[in-house]
Symmetry: C2
Subunit: 220 residues, 2 copies
DNA sequence: CTAATTTACATACGCCTCGTATATCAGAGG
DNA sequence: CCTCTGATATACGAGGCGTATGTAAATTAG
């Protein structure tokens, strides 16, 4: 018995989608995943993870929660996918910035500043910096390990080897700096005058970073 | 009509509480609030804010959600109260640490290290560092403004005036350092070997901080 | 000292959200 | 052509939260 109503099933929507595209199945699936990720990204970025209703944003993507559970397991799984996407974009942007600098050190500083600027974007701030850690735990344990951090740690490693900066554990320093930048972004974004605050933060960060330069340190 | 069942009301629990104590009303209220905050603090600290059921932890405190809504408005309000309590404790602990140091600079460094250690405690980490920002937004905009940050900013102000450290905006530097420490704590807490990681982080932090000392900087 | 009012809390109800179980259909492959 | 697997939709149940409402104790008024 039961489920009599299934006679009306989803005939309409399925037919519509059939008419629209005759792509191979794998493409349709990729498209579905992309649609879900995009819709979730928007919802998470504006309403926040907790207040984003799965029913709502799957519907906005022209789908239902059924598709979501099939592809991502649960809401957290979808958040992971969204964060992975954003993180990849961030990594790519930082890579470009670092590559355009004349020296390694300057590249590093430019990367830091670019990171702060990116972290000012509301979507990144909300999803990656606030909800991400709350829902998924410590970012340093995430699978991607934040492409950003790895890139910075590598730079620091080389700078240390070159003798440009004082000897420290590169990973430790990169995590400290990353945390500093992240917090700075939250501060800037919520400040009454973000522009001025940003200048103060960038200046302070440069001061802090320059303390690492060997040429700035007197033997002592 | 309706609400017929109210005849049985809460006679039992009320009578029990009446027998137990004949304190003035204000004390009873304070006790209720304290019980709720304590129960919530435990639940938030172990299960996390999102997974802590209001029905469950109010019941654990011998109360119902009615009391909670009356005193704190909603779940967020209770979280605010919990965080305020924890923040006050942290501030007091830091104050003591700083006061025991021979010089202002050493006090500042000691405070930083103590902060990292505190932030390793699971309850603080979960409630203040992860769920807090996700639910209540940027910590720098919280009412208490994090007693910790203010204290550090004051120290930096004085150190700058004394000429001990290079001139920067004290608030900016304190926020950067605060973010660095916070992130370091998350990293340490989730590292496979927290002890060793902690040493690395503290060493790196000291290196970073010492870069601010005027006596370490060569004129450049 | 009694009556009115306020305050502190408990209960009931409804909406919404999530997760799981089930149903259906479209393609892929034999 | 038939079967089987995979992609998606629907139905159902369990909780969680917020609000509206109820009650009794404490306080204040007269």
């Amino acid at each position: 018995m039961a489920y009599v109503a299934y006679v009306n099933y989803n005939i309409r929507s399925v037919c519509e989608r059939k008419k629209m595209a005759h792509k191979p199945r794998s493409e349709m699936i990729a498209e579905t995943r992309a649609k879900l990720v995009a819709a979730a990204r928007h919802a998470f970025g504006t309403a926040g993870y907790a207040d984003a209703s799965m029913d709502d944003f799957t519907a906005a993507a022209g789908l239902t929660r059924g598709a979501l559970y099939h592809h991502f397991g649960d809401k957290k799984g979808l958040l992971e996918a969204v964060i992975a996407e954003i993180d990849a974009e961030m990594g790519a942007r930082l890579h470009i910035v670092a590559g355009n600098a004349p020296t390694r050190w300057e590249g590093f500083v430019a990367e830091c500043i670019a990171y702060i600027e990116m972290a000012l974007e509301p979507e990144i701030q909300r999803i990656v910096l606030r909800d991400g850690p709350a829902v998924l735990g410590d970012p340093s344990a995430w699978p991607n390990q934040n492409a950003c951090i790895r890139s910075m740690a590598e730079n620091l490693q080389r700078l240390t080897e070159e003798g440009t900066i004082v000897a420290t554990d590169p990973e430790a320093v990169s995590r400290l700096i990353n945390g500093a930048m992240l917090h700075a972004s939250l501060w800037i974004a919520n400040a009454p005058d973000p522009e001025a605050t940003s200048k103060k933060a960038v200046h302070a960060l440069k001061t802090l970073l320059e303390g690492l330069l060997v040429r700035n340190r007197s033997p002592g």
